[in-house]
């Protein structure tokens, strides 16, 4: 899956990757690769500006720690981020159900 196909969805995927607890940038991309069965083909370096953007939006919070003599920045979901993730999930379910119904036929389920 290429970066351009992810436009508009990367933020929600990053929030979902952080749902299990605090993670540093590399661990976030590894979690995304695992959850997508290795289909995510995104340059690792592009994750970091996206994490900063989410931090500026107040959806995640970053803290520094020292690991193996290196400074490491870890991120965790804020309550606003948790709420945003729930909203994005609901929106995605509605959207994907609508597109699936349009492309494959069959009834479109009513939104919850």
């Amino acid at each position: 899956m290429r970066a351009e196909a992810l436009k508009g969805h990367l933020d929600a995927m990053l929030l979902a990757a952080l749902e299990g607890g605090p993670q540093h940038g590399y661990a976030v991309i590894e979690a995304l690769r695992q959850s997508t069965g290795g289909r995510l083909d995104l340059p690792t370096g592009t994750i970091y500006p996206a994490l900063r953007r989410l931090e500026q939006a107040g959806l995640i919070a970053g803290t520094w720690s020292v690991v193996g003599g290196r400074r490491r920045r870890e991120y965790q979901l804020t309550p606003a981020g948790d709420q945003a993730l729930s909203g994005r999930r609901a929106d995605w379910r509605d959207f994907s159900a609508m597109v699936t119904a349009a492309l494959e036929g069959g009834p479109c389920p009513n939104p919850a």
Binding site: H24, T44, G45, Y48, R53, R72, R73
Partner: protein
């Protein structure tokens, strides 16, 4: 374990354009990427090459950070609210007949305003992280100086306080606070 030369060169390119805190975070991620390739059995140099390739072109990373530069975002907001604050002051000066400001003071204010707009526009449109941060910081200082001068000037001039003037002063005070808050991260960049 010593850092392979390819990785240190890659980080040097990033360090030339990004703040130290961002480069530290990227260095940690790149080291972890390199280690994961070493664990897969690659030789150190090959692992470094694979890690750098996986991380992506430095220009792309720098451009990504430039887009989320807080100075750039603050400069855009200040440019956006500028006409509103300006309109408030124009209305206040017209209604309070405070045009009798000496010509040199008016010229100085006009030149400062033009310089501030140019600095903020450079920051708002900049794709170079450090340039956007520095021009932003200079622009924020200019906004603070302009708004403080307007508020103090009106207070000392003893003009009658109308609701229009109070509104203009409040708008300037709010903008001054915002510019002051944006200054610290811009100076850190």
């Amino acid at each position: 374990m010593p850092e392979p030369r390819l990785i240190s060169s890659y980080l040097d390119v990033l360090a030339a354009q990004l703040p130290a805190s961002i480069v530290e975070e990227l260095a940690d991620g790149l080291t972890e990427t390199h280690r994961s390739y070493l664990r897969q059995g690659l030789a150190p140099d090959l692992a470094a090459r694979a890690a750098v390739a996986e991380f992506g072109e430095p220009e792309m990373i720098v451009a990504g950070f430039a887009r989320v530069n807080p100075a750039r975002r603050a400069a855009r907001r200040l440019l956006g609210v500028g006409p509103v604050v300006g309109a408030c002051w124009l209305a206040a000066l017209v209604t309070s007949r405070a045009w009798a400001v000496p010509l040199p003071a008016r010229m100085l204010a006009g030149l400062t305003l033009a310089a501030v707009i140019a600095l903020l526009a450079t920051s708002a449109l900049g794709t170079h992280y450090r340039l956007a941060a520095r021009t932003g910081a200079a622009g924020f200082l200019g906004v603070i100086a302009l708004d403080a001068s307007l508020i103090v000037g009106v207070a000392f001039a003893g003009a009658p306080l109308t609701w229009v003037l109070a509104l203009a002063m409040a708008a300037s005070a709010a903008r001054l606070c915002y510019a002051a808050r944006a200054l610290r991260p811009a100076l850190a960049g």
